[in-house]
Symmetry: C2
Subunit: 203 residues, 2 copies
């Protein structure tokens, strides 16, 4: 007769995921060994296989269990705002704040993009896209003040701005152009996204 799930087993599973996520972020997937994961998780090599069937299963478990979109998506969908500007501004600040709490995970998404060619990430996007697109369609249709009527442009440019913000600020800018950007970089990106780089009179 099969035993119920034990607390000890679940704790070890989480310890393995915690150790693996750290190592994957530090040195990538292929460069991380099962022995390193076992050592950091505090158990023997073979013990891992009582909880995960393979190294890739650990990676998939991390993507599924730890992905921040589960917490962030409902907040974004519930973002309020009478005007398009208010909605986009609120949604942006929610994402920056929440995603900023889990910056490590963004690195992991890049590793996934490179080493698994985005297979797991694309799966996740296919799940998210149907939930996000209707919201942006509604904004395009019901709210005035936008320069585009194409929801695809709106949603992509919005997430494109977020991607570009995190990439330039986290991965590149801090090491090379660090001192040149003001501290409220997120607001600078949002302002630019909303109003453009040109003065209205010039357009």
């Amino acid at each position: 007769m099969p035993r119920e799930k034990s607390k000890k087993g679940e704790a070890t599973r989480l310890a393995i995921e915690d150790a693996a996520i750290e190592l994957f972020m530090e040195q990538g997937y292929h460069a991380t060994s099962m022995r390193q994961i076992a050592e950091r998780a505090g158990l023997a090599l073979g013990g891992i296989y009582n909880h995960f069937s393979s190294k890739e299963a650990i990676f998939e478990g991390i993507i599924i269990d730890k992905h921040p979109y589960k917490q962030i998506l409902p907040l974004v969908l519930a973002a309020e705002g009478e005007t398009a500007e208010e909605f986009l501004s609120n949604a942006f600040h929610i994402i920056v704040e929440e995603l900023g709490k889990q910056r490590e995970f963004i690195n992991l998404m890049f590793i996934e993009l490179v080493e698994f060619k985005g297979a797991h990430g694309a799966m996740m996007l296919r799940e998210i896209a149907p939930k996000v697109l209707p919201v942006f369609e509604k904004i395009v249709k019901s709210r005035k003040g936008l320069r585009t009527t194409n929801p695809a442009i709106l949603v992509r440019s919005f997430f494109g701005m977020i991607i570009s913000y995190f990439i330039t600020e986290m991965l590149i800018a801090n090491s090379v152009l660090g001192k040149l950007m003001p501290k409220n970089a997120a607001d600078a990106y949002l302002d630019l996204y909303l109003h453009g780089i040109l003065k209205p009179s010039e357009s």
Copy 2:
């Protein structure tokens, strides 16, 4: 007395780099073996070491020899335009066109970012930044019509837009949101960058 550089040796060196760049882009750095590189380059395993001292030396050789910035930077620095809008528009179109010819290399930069933590890319940025910043400073100072007077914001947002364009269009959008974006996506990004997502009257 040392022999002059032979034609054969140089051709083999290039064949190794060509084989390696393909494989690194297909499967990443760590997942590519020297045996695979040798096979695709059409020579024996040991022969590689007559031309490169190590696997990482091949990667560095690729980054140095094949980086498209060498061709693109002079074009961008020479971009003309009476107004800021004209300059930014011309520079953007030059980069999109030239970088679009070597899309594979963008994947390689992401691999570098993940597997070497951007060490080689940062080195390159340190070389490029001093050449680019004065140009954007000059634009901020001498040209009217910009909503920012901070050259750091201008240069980062400009390259941020380009990064976001290539990421969303190449790596993510084509597989998941492919049919939703108009074909002239680059122009949509540029228009958004120049004028923002909001109508001027709303701002």
